[in-house]
Amino acid sequence: MYRYDEFDTDFVSARVEQFTDQVRRRLAGDLDEEQFKPLRLMNGVYLQLHAYMLRVAIPYGTLNGAQMRKLAYVARTYDRGYGHFTTRQNIQFNWPRLKDIPAILEELATVEMHAIQTSGNCIRNVTADHFSAAAADEILDPRPYAEILRQWSSLHPEFSFLPRKFKIAVTGAPHDRAAVQVHDIGLQAKRDADGNVGFTVFVGGGLGRTPMIARKVRDFLPEEDLLAYCEAILRVYNRYGRRDNKYKARIKILVHETGVETLKADIEREFEEIRHGVLRLPQDEIDRITDYFAAPPFDADADDGSLDRASAADPALAAFVERNLHAHKAPGYASVTISLKPIGKAPGDATADQMDAVAALAERYGHDEIRVSHEQNLVLPHVRKADVPAIFEGLKAAGLAEANAGLVTDIIACPGMDFCALATARSIPVAQRISERFGTPERQRDIGDLKIKISGCINACGHHHVGHIGILGVEKKGEEYYQITLGGSGDENSSIGEIIGRGFSYDDVVDAVETLVDTYIGLRETPQEDFLAAYRRVGDAPFKEALYGTA
């Protein structure tokens, strides 16, 4: 894992000190809300419906047991005993008091955590594949590059007042688990025929009220040019991105209004100016950062066949193995998805006790490493298959053993109107009701891979545009009203879902989802043809007919 050097430690503690003073001045009346708001947002502090909310960064979704225990401690001591893991691999606390936030940040700094770049119009925390350094299909670990981008972007003076927020995601595998094509910059790390490392660069993706799939601007950017090229993109965006309308200020709008070819030419021109300057990445620095992320030593004969035997004797374990284990690059190892979607519970929530339990399992069985996925689950990336039965038992005791990774009940949902000041409808209870409707093990496994994503407003924090079934909650004549989209996807074949027709009330939306699922079951060619594949084959007509009739 990345460890802070002296510079990082000083930077974070200086920020804690600075924000502590800003909170003190706010409470003393030296700063008014207009002056304080941008300062608190630079430190992850929002004011939501019921209370303040603190968003803590988990850079590229990687943390260790001590850090997870600290999050549990914060949840217990300063919040209401739980935290909410988000679609940007962060965690949010929903009930902190403003006066306590300096103390929370001081606690977090002791384990090299902070809330920097989790909010505001800056380059946000870089996200990455949650199976980094573990997945069997991975070409290279994207996190060293995410960390290099982090070092470049933290306090970057030129990019501290961008037109709008700016999100970068990196993957190092051909199967994109980081949704890079719906980010402002998406990077897909790969090697050329000679083994040189480079990146396919996508620009201008995003969800929100104007969803767009990113456009490819480079097929193979040499790794030494990573920062210079990103700086060139940011410069072009900073100069030409719209500042007159916050809803048109993301780089996707610039790409759309300017045209990708013109913008690409602007980026390349800027890049030519700076590519041979200080931003060229020296190989020894790449190597130095990469060393921090070295995979643990894997045991060559880790697979003793015991997991297969245990699974044969325990159907619940077998179901867990089938859904929640991901193929690892080292023989005898696997990555375990810890579902934060127990049937009927709020997606992404974990209690302090559950966080402690996951920390203990990671320390005992997982080389002290934990990941947060953008699908609001946790991952133990490196475990011996032989240890999976013991991990499964530990997860059962913690109430986290649901064998539903990638299934219909593994729902992404934003906090929605139960918590969020921007929301126009609730998301969490819709997710809970869908989860309960499809929650039996047989039914969800019969339905197979299906991504349902729910947002409680048009800002799309729940990624509904890229859900196989997307649900958007809006307010219509004072009532909650849910619009359904079909056919979205956030992987290497990204697509934006299409609105199927008129929306549904809060009471009716779960029945509508069930109608869609039943329609899919009825028309799939084989049980292996998943919902998205079937939808892409047949189009929306049968689904429309099932929902609205032929009239």
């Binding site: 706010r26 008014d32 209370a51 006066k99 139960d418 969490i428 004072g478």
Partner: protein, 101 residues
């Protein structure tokens, strides 16, 4: 009928302007504003509370009478008045009795 609401600066708690000019933590104790004059008076008290560093961003909400008292017209404000609909153990709905700010 309207009420004036805001979040308390120091801890974010949802409060309403109460009948005797203090800030209350439960909607049932809010001052129901029946006239434009009352609204103007409430807004002036709110502005003073902002200047006194007690509150953030006060605003008026619509209220209606119910059998048990009053409730906010907008669903969002009803959630603010009670707590998350998904967590009856959290927020004001979890309290046993009303308490003043």
């Amino acid at each position: 009928m309207k009420a004036l609401t805001a979040n308390r600066l120091i801890d974010g708690e949802v409060v309403w302007l109460g009948r005797s000019g203090q800030w209350v933590e439960m909607l049932q104790s809010a001052w129901g504003l029946e006239t434009p004059e009352a609204e103007a008076e409430a807004l002036a008290i709110g502005a003073q509370a902002v200047a006194d560093r007690l509150l953030v961003d006060p605003y008026l909400i619509d209220l209606r009478r119910t059998e048990d008292g009053i409730e906010a017209v907008r669903f969002r404000e009803r959630i603010r008045a009670k707590g998350p609909t998904t967590r009856p153990d959290l927020g004001k709905q979890a309290r046993r009795e009303t308490s003043a700010a």
